[in-house]
């Protein structure tokens, strides 16, 4: 089992972005994604696109459903040119949980070893969070999550 906590990552007028912090790592998953891909010059543009995309929604448009590509119960921010994916869970127009990602190398996510772990984690977190929201242990009020933010997922 993997233990994690959800915490506020970045907050703007229209959207609050949370991230996932597994207790075995020093950095949260989104920062681990940035750390990993910022080491190569070739990924510079892609990381900038992801940041600009997050800021655009956060400051201007809100996290509208149409800006997210559904991948089972999670969503992805796809960078078409390079196949880079950052996985997330869109809870509403004003609340998004960002995860980790990687480079998708095949049509089916199960066949892409670089992104599959992040995809699986985000789908597992979605199920754990949904159950907690339904039972009332976690509460969503506007841009914020309250109550239970610590979870255990398979892995």
């Amino acid at each position: 089992m993997k233990r994690l906590i959800l915490g506020l990552y970045k907050e703007y007028d229209k959207v609050a972005f949370y991230s996932v912090h597994f207790e075995t790592y020093e950095l949260c998953e989104t920062d681990r994604f940035i750390q990993r891909f910022s080491q190569h010059e070739a990924n510079r543009d892609d990381l900038q696109i992801i940041k600009a995309w997050i800021e655009k929604m956060g400051k201007e448009t809100g996290a509208l459903e149409r800006y997210f590509r559904p991948e089972r119960n999670a969503s992805a921010i796809p960078i078409a040119t390079s196949g880079l994916r950052l996985y997330c869970i869109r809870l509403s127009d004003e609340l998004v949980i960002l995860g980790n990602g990687g480079r998708k190398s095949s049509q089916a996510v199960q066949d892409s070893p670089d992104v599959y772990p992040a995809f699986k984690d985000m789908n597992n977190i979605y199920h754990a969070l949904r159950a907690s929201l339904r039972s009332g242990h976690t509460e969503r009020v506007g841009k914020k999550l309250f109550g239970q933010l610590r979870f255990k997922i398979e892995g």
Binding site: G7, L8, Y9, E11, Y18, D31, Q48, I49, W53
Partner: protein
Amino acid sequence: MYMSKLFDSIDVNDEIRRFVDNSFEVVDQIHAILERQGKNQRDLAQLLGKNESEVSKWLTGTHNFTLKSISKIEVVLGEKIITTPMTSQKEFFLMLERSTKIQESKSFLYQKISLRALHTKYMVVSAPSSVKEPKGISFPLVA
């Protein structure tokens, strides 16, 4: 206390910022057209002969649209998606011209009606008492 420690270290240059802005504008315009036409992403995918998953990838705000793909979408939806400032300026002046012409025609018509009403009034005054004033003429027009 925010979890982000590395996010602010990414410097977004103007070109990338503009690319994302433009991509969002194209996507929002396509969605507005689809909504107005009562269509959805699946309909658009069918019209384009593409998979819905491919089209959904295009509509996230990070896709690098080509002019060719934009033109294709414009053709299947029968509406323009992008307009340059020069074209919208031309369209604005054309609309202004049309509106001025309509105003001129209206005022010409107004004058004609007023003259006819005046003429009718004169006819009524000078006509024998057996001639009744025609219905539907509004005399305040004369004033």
